[in-house]
């Protein structure tokens, strides 16, 4: 007898079981850091950084500091405001020595893996068209991802991450594995993607 899709689905996923022990004594306030802090050497070779303004700060020894990490800790944005003078310093570090690729190649296909995803984007990107993905983190920052091709080979991919704060203001972004011209403009897929997400750079 032919099984329905529901029957097939339920049979396939009936193998999932939670751990048996669930203690009600566990503290709900267990800390889980949202942004894992790691130490990096700050390097920028081969990567373009773009910045616009932003707000949202915490106090630290006479300075108001705002810090935002990109996915995989690839990028750190820091905004420091002197509480006396009001002067603001903005800095982006892109960790080019330890970049985590948002893409994996398996069986000559490209899979987008950011944010726990595993999306086959092989047919979705080209030298003129970027794959676009966005998600909002717990702090309300919206992360936009663009992935495109710089050439015909599977390995010829490039990517960029651009972050907007909860107020809708762009705070920064970077692109990697893609060439930029003397004006800082990227390849066709990157510029088309940035235009699509509304990134002003």
């Amino acid at each position: 007898m032919k099984m329905s899709n529901k029957e097939k689905y339920q049979a396939a996923f009936s193998v999932l079981h939670a751990s048996a022990v669930h203690s009600m004594q566990k503290q709900q306030t267990e800390n889980r850091p949202v942004f894992m802090v790691r130490r990096f050497a700050a390097v920028c070779a081969g990567v373009i950084i773009m910045l616009v303004g932003g707000y949202g700060v915490y106090a630290l020894g006479g300075q108001a500091v705002r810090e935002v990490w990109g996915w995989g800790n690839n990028m750190r944005y820091t905004e420091t405001t002197d509480s006396e003078t009001g002067e603001t310093e903005k800095q982006v570090k892109v960790m080019t020595e330890s970049l985590t690729d948002p893409v994996e190649i398996r069986d000559n296909r490209l899979y987008f893996i950011v944010n726990g995803e595993d999306i086959d984007i092989t047919g979705l990107i080209s030298e003129t068209q970027a794959y676009e993905y966005e998600y909002t983190d717990e702090e309300g920052y919206v992360h936009y991802w663009l992935v495109g091709k710089n050439g015909p080979e599977t390995t010829h991919y490039g990517y960029g991450e651009y972050i907007k704060d909860a107020d809708g203001k762009w705070i920064g972004g970077y692109s990697a594995r893609t060439n930029l011209d003397e004006n800082g403009k990227g390849t066709e897929w990157l510029e088309a993607g940035k235009e699509q997400i509304g990134f002003p750079g």
Binding site: N5, Q10, V15, A18, V34, F35, W69
Partner: protein, 160 residues
């Protein structure tokens, strides 16, 4: 109505785990989600209209918790999906293949597909649990089905 937390855990933990797993794709995180969901139930005084209402509430909380885990940059104890699947006892190769292909769908399609085929919710009920419009649910369901059909071919029935 209310049932005690231990009874709720016994009755719903596997369903909550399955829903959370569809979002996290990681058993350790899904277990954490189940724990947090049951703790929240334990601490709330909310009364439910009936068991269906309770189940939908628990699923909604678990799904939101799982999304929060996914959005966090800090995800611990991640085991590759294929490695975790080796610990599961599938009834058939077709079941294993279906499991894998569902897990390869984008998150927003996975959870809609799960609520429809596993929990047997209607489009309207899925929309209410996920807090999205009916048309959005229909689109996600339709695209998710189409992607599964493309991958699974004759192992997945058309128009079901």
């Amino acid at each position: 109505m209310r049932i005690n937390t231990e009874t709720a855990a016994e009755k719903y933990r596997d369903r909550l785990f399955a829903a959370a797993f569809h979002i996290c794709r990681n058993a350790a995180d899904a277990d954490d989600v189940v724990q947090e969901t049951l703790l929240r139930y334990h601490k709330t005084d909310m009364e439910y209209e009936n068991e269906e209402h309770l189940k939908a509430w628990l699923l909604r909380v678990a799904i939101n918790q799982a999304k929060n885990v996914n959005r966090s940059f800090f995800r611990h104890r991640i085991v590759p999906l294929e490695d975790y699947m080796e610990t599961l006892s599938f009834e058939s190769p077709e079941s294993e293949n279906l499991f894998l292909e569902v897990m390869r769908l984008p998150e927003k399609y996975r959870i809609v597909i799960h609520l429809y085929y596993y929990e047997e919710y209607s489009v309207r009920e899925i929309s209410q649990i996920l807090g999205i419009t009916d048309s959005n649910t229909k689109v996600r369901l339709s695209r998710g089905r189409a992607m599964l059909k493309e991958k699974l071919q004759e192992e997945w029935n058309e128009n079901e």
